[in-house]
Amino acid sequence: MNEIIVNGMSFSIPLFIIAVGGIYSERSGVTNLALEGFMGAGAFFGALFTALTAGVFASTSNLPMYLSLFVAMAGGALYAIIHAVLCIKFKANQVISGVVVNILAMALTDFLTSQINESVLGHSADKFILNVFPRLTVESLTGIPVLGGFFTNAYIFEFIIIAVAVVAWYVMYKTRYGMRLRACGDNPYAVDAAGCNVGRIQFAAVMVSGALSGLGGMCFAYSVFGHYSTSIYAGYGYLAIAALIFGNWKIPATLGACLLFGFARAAGYSLIQYLELPGTYSDLIMILPYVLTLLLLMIFSKNNRAPRALGEIYDKGKR
């Protein structure tokens, strides 16, 4: 039981923060299929940082790992500018832009990873090896049945992500910026009439989206993979999109969807072990979250309400 919780949480929480990133962009009215690319590009910058600074810090120090989370956020935000410029400045089709940004991320980071390994670090490899992120066990709470599992062997980044998500929720629902952002997703003309700059609000929202995706991607690199390579493009960005749609573009409900996906996946792995199935069957279990996605899509789609102006190209002159 505890194992399912530990594995489920370590998958759900990074997925959740990527989905929150998606919510920022989509609630501002910009369709975001580029989460996958943002995630991978952000993680690339984070992993690059740890690789380049390996000699600077003491080998036992955890500090570079924490710093790499910030670098991944900054890198994700930076990379997201491509999507923002295409969609907002040049009014490109947002779906196409998202797909292009994903493909570009994969190709670019693959190329750069090999090149930097070869020319800067002096050995040929297509990945950056990462240390294991520190885990935390709160001894006083582990005794509690079921709930104790959430405080056993949890990655510390899970707590960092929850804190970031709380801030993201606060900004979106309680502050001026959040109010204007959500208004842009419903009726950008109203925001414009109120004297605010729609383009600027959306631009910032897409960058936040990149930052949060970068954070999530970096955490995946530390937990699921243990290294950075193109294998990080495993479709988690798309899964995050599915999660935010089930969550009806709302942050708390999206957390629920992510937990569901994460626990389905973790339970699948435990099932394989329990049944002592050969390793190849694990691939079959890997599809579990996606099958679940399909099923949920069929059930929940009709109650969903996307932001009204989502994907609409904002054109000031139109009436």
Binding site: K174, N187, A194
Partner: protein
């Protein structure tokens, strides 16, 4: 310092293919209700959009409180305490009234002494007070998607008042309102004048001007014709100045010479999305050469009757028989082929494809038949030929003729295009739903005479209208609908408008 709070001097504004404002000069006094009267496309809205900073004039100057306006932007206009209620509201549908009003200048408070949050609670109170002061009757905690058009308009008004606007511009504010709501709005406007606000009313409805305005500027084709004192000028005189010719308020109409029954509706039932029967057992006949008008207060099922006959809404019960054939379950296209022309209520949603050209829109009903389409290939030269003929014949005005994108045309000309297309089908039965909604007096007159001309050609006509005057003017037979049922069907000459009004309220048995 002049006596005027707003002064426009020799303002000219050109758009591609059209001069919207041609050397217009006028002054507006503080604390008055100033009306701008003109037909659709006369340049009223453009002129006021310049004052609100949405356009920069090509020539001429604008002065506000004696100071020349240098920068033209809505933000700057707001700083000058100018506010504008647009024809199309700009509201966020999933926000509350308060949230919409404060958007862009949200008051903040510090939670726990340091966290800035938008202060909704206190603002709710403030807005409730403001609403009370001007008699607007809105509940600030309601969401926009749950309130009607009239209240949405009042939210727009509150938006301006919250921003401390002193000069308030209303662009065609009554076009979307029912008669009762119009009364209510005019009272609000008077209340604002009592509070010292200056009000500019863009409209083409003479009656409203007569009721509230102090002075009235009349425009025609971009030019200012005259500024008159409303109390001293007759409605007829204003109408003539506006249209540029004599107008008659009542239509010349010969007695109806009905022929065979063309449309037969038996016990029609139409249900809405919730399964509620909005039309409940309606029966009537329309004969050739007869105008059958359905009168009623909005939302009593009249539009659903028209939709069910045209095939846009399924009939849950009863029969629709056109020229002896049962069409109750026929698809829309089959009905069109059998001879139904339909002028829908909402011209932008159901009547036109806004981003297509005028020429394409005029051929929407025929694009698939020869000579416009042969073996699946469209023949554009025939499109052009036909649309030019219709544009000429129905006097549809636009910037670039048949190649104009319909979205950029004025509402009146959009409506003319629909009527041209439908009448030209030359079907034995025509449905007009709210054919003159939002149009000016000249256009209304033209459409009314077209409807009568169609009748005189021997067509059966179903007219659905919320304007009692229109029904009394045109109908041969009147059916009054109340709560989904026809309370009364009688020849028009046997009923007075007062009686019809009573049936509309459901009071008369």
């Amino acid at each position: 310092m002049s006596e005027y709070i707003v002064e426009m001097r020799h303002v000219t504004k050109r758009f591609p293919g059209i001069v919207a404002n041609d050397d217009v000069s006028l002054g507006i006094k503080k604390g008055e209700i100033f009306a701008l009267l003109g037909e659709n496309g006369a340049g009223k809205s453009t002129l006021m959009s310049i004052l609100f900073g949405m356009y920069e004039p090509d020539e001429g100057e604008v002065y506000v409180r004696g100071k020349k306006v240098e920068t033209f932007s809505p933000n700057h206009a707001t700083e000058l305490n100018i506010g504008m209620v647009h024809q199309h509201f700009k509201l966020v549908s999933n926000y509350t009234i308060t949230e919409n009003i404060i958007l862009g200048m949200e008051p903040q408070k510090k939670k726990f002494g340091f966290l800035p949050v938008v202060d909704i609670k206190n603002t709710n109170k403030k807005i409730a007070e403001l609403s009370k002061k001007f008699g607007l009757e809105v509940d600030p905690t309601q969401k926009i998607e749950n309130i009607n058009v009239s209240m949405q308009q009042r939210v727009e008004i509150l938006k301006m008042l919250y921003r401390e606007a002193e000069i308030l511009i209303f662009d065609e504010p009554t076009a979307v309102l029912t008669p009762q709501e119009i009364e209510f709005l005019l009272e609000i406007i008077r209340e604002m004048r009592r509070n010292g606000k200056t009000i500019i009313l863009i409209t083409h409805k003479l009656e409203e001007i007569k009721q509230v305005a102090d002075r009235c500027a009349i425009m025609n084709r971009g030019k200012l014709i005259e500024i008159c004192d409303v109390a001293e000028t007759s409605t007829k005189k204003m109408a003539e100045l506006m249209v540029g010719r004599e107008v008659s308020f009542t239509q010349e109409k010969t007695p109806c010479k009905p022929g065979e029954v063309m449309l037969k509706v038996e016990n029609l039932v139409v249900k809405n999305a919730d399964g509620f029967p909005v039309v409940n057992g309606v029966s009537f006949n329309i004969r050739s050469g007869e105008i059958f008008a359905i009168a009623g207060v909005a939302g009593n099922g009249q539009v659903e009757i028209a939709d069910a006959i045209a095939g846009l809404a399924p009939a849950a019960g009863g029969k629709v028989i056109l020229d002896g054939q049962d069409i109750t379950n026929s698809p829309v296209k089959a009905r069109n082929k059998m001879g139904i022309a339909y002028i829908p209520e909402d011209r932008q949603t159901w009547g036109l494809i806004l981003d297509f050209t005028l020429s394409e829109n005029l051929l929407l009903r025929r694009y698939d038949i020869a000579p416009y389409c042969v073996n699946g290939v469209l023949h554009r030269e025939h499109f052009t030929e036909k649309s030019e003929e219709l544009i000429e014949h129905f006097d549809i005005r636009s910037g670039q003729g048949g190649q104009t994108i319909v979205r950029s045309m004025s509402g009146g000309n959009q409506q003319k295009a629909i009527i041209a297309r439908e009448i030209d089908l030359d079907t034995p039965f025509v449905i007009f739903v709210q054919p003159t909604r939002g149009l000016d007096i000249g256009a209304i007159e033209r459409i009314h005479s077209q409807i009568i001309a169609e009748r005189d050609k021997g067509k059966a006509i179903l007219l659905v209208s919320l304007e009692l005057d229109e029904i009394m003017n045109l109908a041969d037979t009147i059916g009054v609908i109340y709560n989904g049922q026809l309370l009364k069907i009688a020849p028009a000459e046997t009923m007075t408008s007062n009686e019809v009004g009573q049936y509309m309220m459901g009071v008369k048995e």
